[in-house]
Symmetry: C2
Subunit: 336 residues, 2 copies
């Protein structure tokens, strides 16, 4: 048990916090002590872990004494406020927010893609954006196989879990109202009805007309893949799906790609599987429901792009709460 | 009343057939006589039009005597079987199926885009694919403004109405089952559950790994825009939305495009409106619900593409049953 760690979870009562507990348990993470932290409002609640009920404590500046690894998933504001205190207390922070992702000295890590970067931290390691993680899980094996990726054009189909538990509740409340012939309840999370609709707006708009979410693929992709001149043009769209993201990706490579080689490269990579038999009866490709509550990302619809040279178009799907957030964070912790 | 026509609708009892009746009524199409045709199974039903109940007759080879314009919307097989009989009887056929779209001598017409092509028919005019129509409604003003479009990369968010009334019924049955905690009923239309899911598979797969639906934008786009070397690479995805399609489009032009000019060009075009204020509070962009039961397509999210030169990325939405099918067919009939 000498390797067992004192783990703290800041934001334990959220959708990702709950999944962090699932991932730690399922992966038998060696835990000496587990400290669950949340806002004063949630303090005193208990959450089940390993057959025990663990009481949630209020997150304060003094919460991190003796903590080895602090998993933050309570939003960027909380991370900015409390992560430095965790580091000062000697913990390594794995932060699920966007607060530190682009900071120099903060590794931004998808373990299957750039796990080695995790070692060069100054106390904080950032967990990338969920859509970026899932896209790169499909793209990285192709990036390695075809001499490097240079351009990405992508459109996302993002689940409401990306907005936290409240996103799921809002979709379900609208679906229930429609099914029962009742008026749609007031919206709290999205600007528009999300049931029976799709919304091309995730995170806030930036000066160039792209949203922050769309620019994350651009900036985080460069950092994770170590391709400083990578260009990405993305349209991020919220869809009425509970918890798996899908992304339609066109990627341009330095070398000429091949569809069969692409399937082999992805099949050989960890954490991602190929589901791509367009000529089978019935044809095989992944849908968001296929990855729900699963660890692996799934890739299908791999084909030569018809417009761009040296380009493939494909479709990648992953569970937003797991690989897009909690699982990736726990995998980072495992690297420590 | 000398201009009033004898109109026949083949497939009158389907989702598009019903909308054809709505469009004819709303647009006060000059009708001398209306003949409603469907399979033997539906013969004898009545449908309301202009305050009367009109009896549906069985579609046969002899259904078209005296008919001026026959609107077909009963699938490609029915069109192939019966459209020649209608033409032989002296009718002009406006066909909503894909049966004749790529045939030489058959104009493929979006009235706002290439209405003049409708005059060069040999008895049949084809109504384009719904996703292609809606995409071109947003793209054509930019094609005219920026020296011609050369490349399209697009991802669609397609409503279940594209599968006909049965697609809508299947989505609603699944949503109802989920809301009532009941098992999902057996599927008839889609290979996968469509509620709480998205499916990257519309129409059958072709040899190059693209679906027929995806290749329609490629081939139909060339014919409608008169750009024989246009290239299009599309991912078509079914989403749990009732009846409006959305498309995320990246388009490359001969000349350098400008976002403000693009907004002006679209605003000045018929049948399409700009809803694009990313810096308003709240930001303005269109969603599928905004076009449901409406005639105009809506465009937003117009921005310089970050990857390709001379390129814009935008988002276009339109009602699949109306502009994607019935309205466009009635507009073609109005050109005659």
């Amino acid at each position: 048990m000498s390797d067992a760690k004192h783990i703290a979870i800041a934001g334990a009562t959220g959708a990702v916090g709950e999944e962090l507990l699932n991932c730690l348990a399922q992966r038998k993470f060696p835990i000496a002590k587990l400290t669950l932290l949340a806002s004063a409002r949630s303090a005193g609640k208990t959450l089940p872990f390993g057959g025990e009920e663990i009481e949630v404590q209020e997150l304060t500046m003094n919460s991190f004494e003796g903590v080895d690894i602090a998993l933050f998933s309570a939003g960027g504001g909380i991370s900015k406020q409390f992560a430095p205190a965790a580091v000062a207390a000697g913990a390594v922070v794995v932060d699920n927010s966007s607060a530190f992702r682009m900071d120099e000295g903060v590794p931004l890590v998808v373990p299957e893609v750039n796990g080695e970067d995790a070692q060069n931290h100054d106390g904080i390691i950032a967990n990338p954006n969920c859509t970026t993680i899932i896209t790169l899980m499909g793209l990285n094996p192709l990036h390695r196989a075809f001499g490097g990726v240079t351009k990405i054009i992508a459109s996302s189909y993002q689940a409401v879990s990306g907005s936290g538990a409240s996103g799921i509740l809002e979709l379900d409340a609208q679906l229930s109202a429609i099914a029962h012939g009742e008026p749609i309840p007031d919206r709290q999370v999205y600007l528009h009805q999300i049931a029976n609709n799709v919304i091309p707006h995730v995170d806030v708009f930036t000066e160039n007309g792209y949203t922050k979410e769309e620019m994350k693929m651009f900036h985080e992709g460069r950092k994770i893949l170590h391709v400083p001149d990578l260009k990405a043009s993305v349209t991020c769209v919220r869809v009425p799906v509970h918890r798996s993201h899908a992304v339609a990706v066109t990627a341009v490579f330095e070398n000429e790609p091949d569809v069969d080689q692409a399937r082999k490269a992805i099949s050989a990579a960890p954490g991602v599987e190929v589901r791509d038999e367009p000529f089978a009866d019935p044809p095989i490709y992944p849908t968001p429901l296929d990855t729900t509550n699963g660890d692996d990302c799934l890739v299908g619809r791999i084909r030569r792009d018809l417009v761009l040279d040296n380009a493939l178009t494909f479709w990648v799907v992953g569970d937003q709460v797991r690989k897009g957030a909690a699982l990736n964070a726990v995998q980072i912790a495992e690297l420590l």
